[in-house]
């Protein structure tokens, strides 16, 4: 339905450069312009509203959170945050999540960086097969790996430890990072490799000295995205972790809203605390993220 807006406009579909800017805006009729902005404002409101509502609710005391009366702000208080931060295990869960996500991120990136590079640069036998394997691992339902991994962890005595979650998350992170990093390495001109090899660098030196420094933004984004995936994972965390002091956020926060007597006021406060730092960095990183993802995807 939003697409019906398109006919109202002319020109300037391409090249959003400053030069064409003025010209095409002049060409658009006022009505079309109004429709365009109205649609975008509407969509933006829908996108932002649930987040804003949670933020607003987190400042309300319990009786107003759990009331059917509509109000944006009522008796604003920081009580919910105080409770979540000082009276619950929330800080511990946060720490657990940070540790697990960091470990997953570092190990995942370290292992996949060279693979991404090899996939991007060398046409070695097995390359296409490996790319296929990465695609296929995207299809693995959590259902098929979770039980065997659970049993292996139980055999190794790792249930209810951070290590078990890091290992489980690596099954997601390693293929994903390799895939993403290949996309970033693809966008670095190969002439640089050639120049380095003329200067006498072997493939490993080229990778380490020339390509890695150039790929730093891409690596940062991949790292961050891996971090977020581990940060928000629910299924493994719900299955592997059993005691309160080892919970991750994704599982711990479920404790605020049991079937009966849910404490939504604390949940909303916790949600804000979880989202704000992650969201800020994400918004910074997303521009690079997408180019890498689609590049990796289309150049299989």
């Amino acid at each position: 339905m939003t697409m019906t807006m398109a006919p109202g406009t002319t020109a300037g579909q391409s090249a959003p450069t400053p030069q064409t800017n003025k010209q095409s805006r002049a060409k658009r009729s006022p009505l079309a312009s109004l429709g365009l902005h109205a649609t975008l404002i509407g969509a933006s409101l829908i996108a932002v509203f649930p987040i804003a509502w949670v933020v607003l609710s987190s400042f309300k005391p319990k009786q107003w959170v759990q009331s059917s009366e509509l109000s944006l702000v009522k008796e604003p208080t920081l009580g919910n945050y105080e409770y979540v931060l000082f009276e619950t295990n929330f800080p511990t869960w946060m720490l657990n999540s940070v540790i697990i996500a960091l470990c997953t991120m570092v190990i995942g990136i370290l292992m996949s960086a060279t693979t991404g590079y090899a996939l991007s640069r060398f046409n070695f036998p097995g390359r296409r097969k490996l790319m296929m394997v990465f695609l296929v691992t995207q299809m693995f339902p959590v259902a098929i790996l979770i039980v065997p991994i659970y049993q292996i962890m139980a055999t190794l005595g790792l249930i209810n430890t951070h290590a078990s979650l890091v290992i489980a998350y690596l099954t997601i992170a390693v293929p994903f990072c390799s895939w993403m990093l290949k996309g970033y390495f693809d966008s670095i001109p190969t002439s640089l490799d050639e120049a380095a090899s003329i200067d006498g660098c072997g493939p490993f030196q080229t990778f380490w000295r020339v390509i890695m420094p150039l790929a730093r933004p891409g690596i940062a984004v991949t790292a961050f995205y891996t971090f977020l995936t581990a940060w928000g994972e629910v299924a493994y965390a719900s299955a592997f972790i059993q005691t309160d002091d080892r919970f991750t956020l994704a599982y711990g926060m479920q404790q605020f809203v049991p079937q009966f007597n849910a404490q939504w006021e604390y949940l909303t406060a916790a949600a804000v605390l979880v989202t704000v730092p992650a969201g800020l960095v994400f918004l910074y990183a997303q521009r690079h993220l997408v180019s890498g993802l689609t590049a990796g995807g289309t150049k299989g």
Partner: protein, 338 residues
């Protein structure tokens, strides 16, 4: 994009100790560094993914549950020493019984969950793609406030999925949720969202659409910016209407990106665990479970039925594999090299 230009080698097997030194030897000399570079990942894939995968497939042919997993039953005698007897009810290999039971509906509700999964996946992907494309088209032009719109529209992606799930469950709360309050204030009846599977599934779908559109939008926007502007100019000179330009230039230009994100979107949504798990939790009475959450519940709730959950897993994986094989074949027929 690969620098290595003259490498015809495709079919040569991995470099084992070679009996025919000629070709393999040359292949190893030429590619050893590439193989060394991918070795850690291949190792991890083998140990962490394919070994458990193999175990999972084997498990699906047994009747292993939490209750019968011990091979021996040990009990303490009065003197404190342990006496162990073989477990008479220990798990055993049962062939394809699990598959038969699951597919004929004797155990669990496979077909119901399969139906729900299909509704869920198709609806979500259609809306993700449609809305994402629409918004990308709107954003792909110079205008005031473009950067701001883009940032606001991306926000749902920045929120961790489990947080979004909680936020929507909160808004759909039957007693004090925002949606019901809004309904009431405009004179509509409040809806008991989680009393009926259709409305319950609707809440989960809405939540998932909300959080999935930004990814499609940004990806398609990226794709649109690679379409050369001259094509639009030429079309304009030929008198093409905006709609014709959209159909004949934008859509074909987005083909390869679209095909990738549609396949990924389908797979990811099919396996989307947290939204169903946290928004509806299967309410009412497990009727909104999709296959993945159904498998999880059979494995980790009640008496843990590990073998049944593995059977689910194998079936889900098979469905997705078959789907993507057909998908790729359909693309190939239309001349897509991917």
């Amino acid at each position: 994009m690969s620098t290595d230009t003259a490498t015809p080698a495709r079919t040569s097997p991995p470099p084992r100790e070679t009996r025919r030194p000629g070709r393999l030897r040359r292949s190893w000399d030429k590619h050893w560094y590439a193989w060394v570079m991918v070795a850690p990942v291949v190792l991890v894939l083998g140990v962490l993914i394919f070994y458990p995968l193999g175990r999972g497939i084997l498990l699906s042919f047994t009747n292993l549950t939490e209750a019968n997993q011990l091979a021996e039953i040990c009990s303490k005698s009065i003197t404190g020493s342990e006496v162990c007897k073989p477990n008479p009810n220990a798990w055993e290999i049962v062939g394809v019984d699990n598959y038969v039971n699951l597919l004929t509906g004797k155990v669990g509700e496979f077909w119901r969950q399969f139906g729900v999964t299909l509704i869920w996946t198709v609806t979500c992907v259609v809306f993700h793609y449609g809305l994402g494309l629409g918004l990308a088209v709107l954003l792909n032009r110079p205008m005031r406030g473009r950067g701001l719109y883009r940032m606001l529209l991306i926000l749902p992606w920045a929120v961790p999925a489990f947080v979004s799930a909680f936020a929507w469950r909160f808004m759909f709360n039957e007693q004090f949720g925002l949606i019901n309050s809004l309904f009431e204030s405009v004179g509509l009846d409040r809806v008991e969202w989680f009393a009926d599977w259709k409305t319950a599934l609707l809440t989960a779908i809405i939540a998932n659409i909300w959080l999935g559109v930004p990814f499609m939008m940004v990806t398609l926007l990226g794709g649109m910016q690679t379409i050369p502007g001259e094509q639009y100019e030429a079309a304009e000179i030929d008198g093409a209407t905006p709609w014709q330009r959209f159909v004949n230039i934008t859509l074909p230009g987005l083909r390869s990106v679209s095909m990738t994100v549609l396949l990924l979107g389908f797979i990811w949504t099919f396996n989307m665990f947290p939204i169903i798990f946290l928004v509806t939790g299967g309410e009412p009475a497990g009727q909104t479970e999709i296959l993945v959450t159904g498998a999880f519940r059979s494995a980790f709730e009640g008496i843990r039925n590990y073998s049944l959950s593995s059977t689910y897993g194998v079936l889900i994986l098979s469905i997705l594999l078959v789907f993507s094989v057909f998908y790729r074949r359909a693309l190939r027929k239309q001349g897509e090299v991917w």
